[in-house]
Amino acid sequence: MAAGPYSEKVMDHFMNPRNVGEIESPDGVGEVGNPACGDMMRLYLKIEEGRVRDAKFRTFGCGAAIASSSMLTEMIKGKTVDEARAITNQQVAEALDGLPAVKIHCSVMAEQAVKSALDDYIKKHAG
């Protein structure tokens, strides 16, 4: 059901977010945003054989922030590390059937979260 400024897809992912939670001993964790700016996302990744086996998130933020987080986890599951890193905020926004202009930064946050989590993964595995 569409409500206010959002598409039905955004509302679906907001009301029924996929993959909320934590991963025990994750291979990579990314955290972006700041509650002072209205949103913050933490992304946990389980990576096996170069692929994202599982992804979970916790987000403080508006409807678009939660929906972007949820959509991102759906998009990266099963992808290789390189494929996941290549995901752009436009792809997240498009998958949600668009976001209002003032909410584009929420999809940017999702893109940055996966890059940050993958950086963490590389750092852990380089050492």
């Binding site: 059901m1 206010g4 400024p5 916790r58 987000t59 508006c62 939660i66």
Partner: protein, 402 residues
């Protein structure tokens, strides 16, 4: 599904009696009050004059002291810019409170650009302006003091009586934005020594598109619109006759029924206020007693305002976020997201400012509707907290600490 509207501070539904008063002025009586040599124009002129007297009566003014405008924004703009210019060349200083509406705050931009000096008065943690701070801020070259009567976001009623007396002693023109208060609590210019008062019809069950600026006799005000000689020369342009008539009708109703409305709203507001107290880490905002009837505002730790409002809306409960962080008030620049100026002013920490919620009740609300909100909120708060990384960290700290 039951739907409950708790956003009366943004607008109120038109009272059907007001609509009936307005109805003839759309189709039958379409005259222009400035062209009154014939019957149509006469009918319009009489209607506008009658409405002027009705609005004046609501605030204890004379009919000749009411200037009709398109609404609160225009009235506030006219008051601030018109009084600054009207004060004359030597007076280039303006004083406003920190919690004024955008239509006052943003009217200061052209004044600053024109070289005016602006003093912003702080408020205490309840959002109250200190009269002593006003006394210290006023100077010989102060053109205008502007302090609102009641704040829409946190409900606090300002001590405009004492503040007005200070302004009067200092000989400074005093503007009061009574948009949120007029029609809900008494606003009487015989008791509040204000020179200019902003009124908005749609905030007290009248139509959108009608407002007024009370202009005390003798107050110097320069116009902001230029054209014909409507509204004593202060506001050129053909009057919005149906809306003006509606504002008059709404003023009569408010004058007559305000006491009963306030009693009803206070009772429901108390039920809502008390009903939310059980939610952990919920903080009420604004003054606990000196506040608008039926106005309940708060923020909740680890919960973002818009998300809460979206979930509430899905449950049929319509409330608003007072925070500039959320939805349409976001800055043009995505990097430039700012906390609500009002919440910042009352010292709400900025890392949780996004949770600001305002419930503003109206005369049509019922106890069942309030119950709907009280029942819906705890579950929504819990659900959003479960999703929040900040709440997770908080819980871990609690476990460690305990």
């Amino acid at each position: 599904m039951t739907k409950a509207f708790f956003d009366h501070i943004s607008t109120t539904p038109l009272d059907p009696r007001v609509f009936e008063a307005m109805r003839p002025y759309f189709l039958d009586r379409y005259g222009n009050p400035s062209s009154h040599i014939h019957d149509q124009g006469q009918a319009a002129l009489r209607a506008v004059d009658q409405a002027r007297a009705e609005v004046a009566a609501l605030i204890g003014a004379k009919a000749g002291e009411i200037v009709f405008t398109s609404g609160a924004t225009e009235s506030n703009n006219l008051a601030v810019l018109g009084a600054a210019e009207g004060a004359g060349a030597g007076k280039r200083h303006v004083v406003v409170s920190e919690v004024e509406h955008f239509s006052v705050m943003n009217a200061l931009i052209p004044l600053r650009n024109a070289g005016y000096e602006v003093t912003i008065l702080p408020v205490d943690r309840n959002g109250v302006v200190d009269p002593d701070a006003v006394r210290k801020a006023l100077r010989a070259d102060t053109a205008l003091l502007s302090v609102m009567h009641a704040n829409s976001e946190i409900g606090t009623i300002e001590p405009v009586g004492p503040i007005g007396r200070i302004a009067k002693e200092a000989g400074v023109t005093f503007h009061v934005d009574a948009t949120a208060s007029a029609g809900h609590i008494p606003v009487d210019v015989r008791e509040i020594p204000a020179d200019l008062v902003t009124l908005s019809a749609h905030n007290f069950y009248g139509p959108k598109g009608a407002g007024a600026l009370y202009l005390r006799e003798g107050t110097k005000l320069a116009p902001r619109t230029f054209g014909g000689f409507q509204e004593m020369g202060y506001r050129a342009g053909t009057e919005n006759v149906p809306a003006v008539v509606g504002m008059g009708a709404a003023s009569i109703l408010a004058g007559r029924e305000m006491g009963a409305w306030a009693e009803h709203l206070s009772r429901l507001g108390k039920t809502l206020w008390d009903g939310l107290a059980a939610i952990p880490m919920l903080h009420y905002t604004g003054h606990p007693s000196e506040r608008l009837p039926g106005h309940v505002s708060f923020w909740v730790e680890h919960v973002e305002g818009e998300s809460l409002l979206l979930f509430l809306n899905m449950k049929g409960v319509m409330a608003a976020s007072g925070s500039a962080c959320s939805s349409n008030l976001r800055g043009h620049d995505e990097e430039d997201l700012v906390a609500s100026p009002v919440l910042r002013a009352i010292g709400v920490p900025s890392d949780i400012c996004t949770g600001s919620i305002t419930f503003s009740l109206g005369k049509g609300n019922t106890a069942d509707e309030v119950r709907l909100a009280i029942d819906a909120l705890p579950g929504i708060v819990e659900r959003l907290r479960e999703m929040s990384p900040t709440y997770l960290d908080y819980q871990k700290l609690q476990v460690k600490g305990g």
